[in-house]
Symmetry: C2
Subunit: 217 residues, 2 copies
DNA sequence: TAGATTGTTAATCGATTAACAATC
DNA sequence: TAGATTGTTAATCGATTAACAATC
């Protein structure tokens, strides 16, 4: 393998790999043998073709002159590099609409994510099944995590519940938190948090739609 | 005003402004008169303090030596710059769990977004009210957009429905699309699309949680 | 005043793009 | 072979960080 092992990919590279994965994955239905050129990928994703070649080289994929990159080979390398071949068991905190949307979304298993339980503090929700997943009472949290050796939690709770819950999660051994709660949470250094700050996306759009002299063309 | 009007802010700057807005907004409850130093903001958001000062300078906010930046002044400037003072009427396409979660989330009105209707192709959903918002049949789409002069649409439909719907939206005069559908959509240049590619967040986390020699410390 | 913090220029760093020889 | 496309080095660009005088 020609690329350096252990080299940590930047967030930007991981994001671009996801876009390649996503896009090639969409194209491939029966045409698994197809290939794609860096120029083609670049055009469709509105980026530079050199960038594409560099990104793919960085994960050890080599193209063929006059042909491009084998679809299947690219997908395999991205899966390997981003860890989609591992299975990550996860729990979802909060059985509200967002938590429900997340457990119901079937796409995550392509990325190795398997949601094995929902938790909610409303006792009347306990025992309910959403998207094939059982709702547990929040009091069961610590015992469940220990018993099932879970390391990833998805937070979809209100503002005020987020930090106390994060503390409980960390104490129980959770090392990754995907935070959809509308607040920042603080965790020890060894815990990875991804803040999914949905209003940022809205702000980006609003900025472009804003009327007046400041509006960009 | 000292900052250049009409200067287009980069995506990265818009995102950082949102983090400041969010964070200061959380702090301020009664303490509207408070101020925050660039060093304090930087520490809490894990970034460089010079960056904070530059960002705030770029939207015309001036701090006071030995005091910092007035909370209220920062918030006002960000609102002005990002367009939160305008009202954006929006429609949501798809009355599934995700569409429901979006209309039920109360936070968007802080950013000027007002969701005025849901649309779904399932006739049995028509007339239903979710989060205070009425579900219309998709056949009403064009007439509704025209009648209510809507320019922003939020897509929460399945893969295969996304592109055809985007085409209808564009034809009806929509100029901004917030796309939560798990596929890329193509639109004319004058239409702004924000792809909310949720699995990217998962991939970032998975990359850090991945076991093995490649895993970063 | 002394000292904390800003505002801004200069230096550094990294990411993007251009160029082009190597390859099939 | 000729020509399309890769792989990679060099050049450019922009973003981040360091340094420090200005300010209250």
């Amino acid at each position: 393998m020609s690329h350096k092992q252990g080299k940590r990919l930047s967030h930007a590279v991981v994001e671009r790999l996801m876009h390649y994965y996503y896009f090639i994955g969409e194209q491939i239905t029966e045409d698994t043998d197809g290939a794609v050129s860096s120029a083609e990928l670049a055009r469709l994703l509105e980026m530079d073709d050199t960038q594409v070649r560099k990104d793919l080289a960085s994960i050890g994929v080599r193209g063929q002159p006059r042909k491009g990159f084998q679809n299947a080979e690219v997908l395999t390398a991205i899966r390997r590099e981003l860890g989609f071949n591992f299975r990550y068991d996860a729990i979802v905190l909060g059985a509200g609409r967002l938590g429900g949307a997340i457990v119901s979304y079937g796409g995550f298993n392509h990325f190795g994510l398997k949601i094995i339980a929902l938790f909610d503090d409303d006792p009347s929700r306990t025992g309910e099944v959403i998207g094939g997943t059982l709702v547990h009472h929040i009091d069961e949290l610590e015992r469940f995590i220990e018993r099932h050796d879970v390391h990833l939690a998805i937070l979809t709770v209100p503002h005020e519940a987020a930090q106390p819950l994060a503390d409980r999660l960390v104490k129980s051994g959770i090392t990754g938190i995907w935070n959809f709660a509308p607040t920042r949470i603080e965790v020890p250094e060894h815990v990875h948090v991804r803040h999914e700050h949905i209003a940022v996306g809205l702000a980006q759009l609003a900025y472009y739609l804003k009327p007046g002299p400041d509006a960009p063309a």
